[in-house]
C-alpha cells in the first residue's frame, strides 16, 4: 500500500509540475463554462428592433411603446413596406422586426382578433430566440390587459414568429450538462492515454513493470489522480453554473455525483484502452481528440438534437458513450428525475466501462508477452 501511495504521489507531482496539464484540467473547464455561459445565454439589453406598422392606430402605438419601454429593446427603424425588411435586417443592428397587420386595432376591437408577425434575424439563433420570447411575453401581457378592459369575450392578438430556430436552445442553460460531458471524457481519456504512453515513450514503463509494483497497481496509480481531479472538476463546474448562471441541480446531487463517477470511470478506461493501442503521445492525443471530441460535440446531443438526425447518424449516436451521460445528467440537473428514469442509460455506461476495461486488460497482456 505504501508503494502504491508513493506512486500516486508521483503522479500528482507530474500533474502539478506541468502548467499545460494544469491548465487543461482546471483552466479549460472554467473558461468553457464562462464562455458558453455568456455567449449562449447573455441577457438581452437594448436589442435593436424595428417596426412595420401597417395599421398606425392607437393600439399598435401602445404596444410599440410597451415594447420599447420594457428596457430590453431599442427602436432602430420604422419601416414603410415589406420590401425594407431584408435591407434593415442585413444591416445587423436590428435583431427583429415587428409587423402589425392592416387595421390591427379595429380587428382587435371588433373581431376580437388581430395578428402580428415577429421576424427575427435567425443568423444568431440564440439572440433571436431570446428576442422573440421577450416580445411574445410582452405581447401576451398587453393582450391580457386589453382583454381585461374590454367587456366582450377575450380579445386576442396572435403573434406569429417567423424564424428557423432550434427548439433545444430554448433552455438557455442546456450547455452546462453538455460541457460537463465533453470536458470529463476529454480530460479523462486524453490525460490517461497521454500519461501512460508517456511512460512507454520515456522507457519508465519498463522499469515500473520490472519493479515489484503489479500492473494493476501501476494502472490504478496512474488514473487515480485523474479520477479525483475530475470529480473536483464536476463540483467546480456545478458551483460555477449555480452561482454565475443561477442554475441549481434540480435532482439529487448524490445521484448526479455517483453517475459522474461512473462516467469518469468509463472515460478513464477508454483512455487506458487508447494508451494500449498507441505507441506515442502524439498518437494518443490524436486518437483522443479526433476520436472523442468531435463525436462528443456533434453526435451526443450536446448541440444538435439526435432526434433530427438521419437514421445512420442516429445509429452512430447509440454507440457514443457521452450520448447516454448527457441524457442522464440533463434528466437529473434540469428535470430533476431520479434513478428510476435513468437506469437504462446507467446500465449502458456500466456495460461500456466493462468492455473497455476488458479490452485494455487483453491488450495489456498481449503487450507484456
Amino acid at each position: 500500500m505504501k508503494r502504491f501511495l508513493g506512486f500516486v504521489k508521483k503522479e500528482f507531482l507530474h500533474i502539478f509540475r506541468d502548467p499545460r496539464t494544469l491548465f487543461l484540467l482546471f483552466g479549460i473547464p472554467a473558461v468553457q463554462i464562462l464562455l458558453f455561459g455568456f455567449v449562449v445565454s447573455q441577457d438581452i439589453r437594448n436589442a435593436g428592433v424595428a417596426f412595420l406598422d401597417l395599421s398606425k392606430d392607437e393600439v399598435t402605438q401602445k404596444l410599440t411603446d410597451r415594447i420599447i419601454s420594457s428596457g430590453f429593446f431599442r427602436q432602430t427603424d420604422n419601416l414603410l413596406t415589406y420590401n425594407d425588411i431584408d435591407k434593415v435586417l442585413k444591416k445587423g443592428k436590428t435583431k427583429a422586426i415587428i409587423v402589425y397587420e392592416d387595421n390591427f386595432g379595429r380587428n382587435l376591437l371588433e373581431k376580437g382578433k388581430a395578428s402580428m408577425s415577429i421576424i427575427a434575424d435567425g443568423s444568431e439563433p440564440n439572440t433571436a430566440t431570446l428576442v422573440t420570447n421577450y416580445i411574445m411575453a410582452i405581447t401576451v401581457d398587453f393582450n391580457r390587459e386589453i382583454a381585461g378592459n374590454s367587456a366582450g369575450s377575450g380579445s386576442l392578438i396572435t403573434p406569429e414568429v417567423r424564424m428557423f430556430y432550434n427548439p433545444e436552445l430554448k433552455g438557455h442553460f442546456m450547455f452546462v450538462p453538455g460541457v460537463i460531458t465533453l470536458i470529463l471524457i476529454l480530460i479523462c481519456a486524453l490525460m490517461t492515454s497521454v500519461t501512460i504512453t508517456r511512460e512507454k515513450e520515456f522507457g519508465t514503463m519498463e522499469v515500473l513493470l520490472v519493479s515489484p509494483l503489479k500492473p494493476l497497481q501501476i494502472i490504478l496509480g496512474k488514473v487515480m489522480p485523474y479520477f479525483i481531479l475530475s470529480l473536483i472538476n464536476v463540483i467546480v463546474i456545478l458551483i460555477l453554473s449555480w452561482f454565475v448562471f443561477g442554475l441549481p441541480v434540480k435532482g439529487s446531487i448524490a445521484l448526479l455525483l455517483a453517475e459522474s463517477m461512473l462516467y469518469i470511470l468509463m472515460s478513464l478506461s477508454l483512455g487506458i484502452l487508447i494508451s494500449t493501442v498507441s505507441k506515442t503521445m502524439q498518437q494518443a492525443i490524436f486518437i483522443s481528440l479526433i476520436g472523442l471530441m468531435l463525436p462528443t460535440i456533434l453526435l451526443s446531443g450536446f448541440i444538435f438534437p439526435v432526434e433530427n438526425m438521419p437514421a445512420v447518424y442516429r445509429w452512430l449516436c447509440t454507440i457514443i458513450p457521452p450520448r447516454y451521460f448527457i441524457i442522464i445528467i440533463k434528466s437529473i440537473m434540469i428535470k430533476g428525475t431520479g434513478f428510476f428514469y435513468v437506469w437504462k442509460e446507467t446500465l449502458v455506461l456500466v456495460v461500456m466501462t466493462l468492455i473497455f476495461i476488458g479490452l485494455s486488460v487483453r491488450n495489456f497482456k498481449i503487450r507484456l508477452e
Partner: protein, 251 residues
C-alpha cells in the same frame, strides 16, 4: 564467486512458430559482471525479459536470485534492479523525488531511503543537485544517477539493458567504474551492450546468435579460442563466420 544467482536450464521461448530463445543454458555467479552480447534480433531482449520476471518461459528451468521465474516472478522482481537504455528517471521530478519514488516502490523505509540518498549524493558529488529537476542535468549525470537508483535497494542482481547508448567515452569510463564498485559490493551485474570494447570489461561474456548461445567464457579465453585480438573480432567471427575479420567499429 561460486554462489549461483542465475541458473538457466534448457530455456525455450516461442512466439507461435518463432523460436526466440532456443534451449539456453547458463549460470551467473554472485558478484560477477556478466556480459550478454548478440546482434539485434538474436533474442537478448526476450531472455532479459524472462530473467527479470516480465514474461514466462515456454519450457525450461529459470532460477533468478533463488526463485523460479515461472512460478514466482513477483519475488524475483523484489530482488533485482533494472536500468534500460532510456535512463528510466522522471524528467519532471527532482533527484530526491526520484530516489524517494523508486526507494518507495521497492519497499524501503523512509529513513533508509534518506540515508542511502545522502550517501549517494556525497559519493557522486551531487549534493548541489539534490533538488534540481532531472531534465536540468547533463546526460552523463542522469545516467550515473539512473544506475545508482537501480541499485539503491541493494538488489542481488542488477540488469542493465544497453546502459551506455549515446554517452561520451569519458562518461562511459566513469560509468563502468560504478559498475565495478557495485560488483565489489556483491551485486551481480547482468549487462547487455553493443559496444564491444565494453565487453572486455566483463568477467564473462555470452554471445547469442539466432536464439542460441554460441559462445560463453571469459573475454581472454574467447580471444584465445577464436584466435582474435579483441572481443569485437570474436563477435564478427561468430556472427558472420564467412566474412574475414574487418576493422568495423562495434555499436
Amino acid at each position: 564467486m561460486n554462489d549461483i544467482v542465475i541458473s538457466v536450464r534448457n530455456l525455450v521461448k516461442k512466439f507461435g512458430d518463432f523460436v526466440a530463445n532456443d534451449n539456453l543454458s547458463f549460470e551467473v555467479y554472485s558478484g560477477e559482471i556478466f556480459g550478454f552480447l548478440g546482434a539485434n534480433g538474436a533474442g537478448k531482449t526476450t531472455a532479459l525479459r524472462i530473467l527479470s520476471g516480465l514474461s514466462s518461459p515456454t519450457s525450461g528451468e529459470v532460477m533468478v536470485a533463488g526463485y523460479d521465474a515461472k512460478k514466482e516472478p513477483e519475488k524475483i522482481k523484489k530482488n533485482i534492479g533494472y536500468m534500460c537504455q532510456k535512463f528510466s528517471l522522471y524528467e519532471d521530478l527532482t533527484v530526491k523525488e526520484n530516489t524517494m519514488l523508486y526507494g518507495g516502490i521497492y519497499g524501503m523505509s523512509l529513513p533508509l531511503i534518506k540515508k542511502r540518498t545522502a550517501e549517494l549524493m556525497e559519493k557522486l558529488n551531487f549534493s548541489d543537485y539534490e533538488n534540481k529537476l532531472i531534465s536540468d542535468l547533463p546526460l552523463g549525470m542522469k545516467q550515473k544517477l539512473a544506475f545508482s537508483v537501480a541499485v539503491l535497494h541493494e538488489p542481488k542482481i542488477v540488469f542493465l539493458d544497453e546502459p551506455t547508448g549515446g554517452v561520451d567515452p569519458v562518461t562511459r569510463r566513469q560509468f563502468w567504474e560504478m559498475i565495478y564498485e557495485a560488483a565489489s559490493r556483491g551485486i551481480t551485474v547482468f549487462v547487455t551492450t553493443h559496444y564491444m570494447d565494453e565487453a572486455e570489461y566483463c568477467d564473462r561474456i555470452s554471445i547469442m546468435s539466432d536464439g542460441k548461445i554460441v559462445a560463453l567464457d571469459t573475454p581472454a579465453n574467447l580471444k584465445k579460442q577464436y584466435n582474435a585480438e579483441t572481443v569485437e573480432e570474436v563477435f564478427i567471427k561468430i556472427a558472420r563466420p564467412d566474412s574475414p575479420p574487418s576493422p568495423l567499429k562495434g555499436g
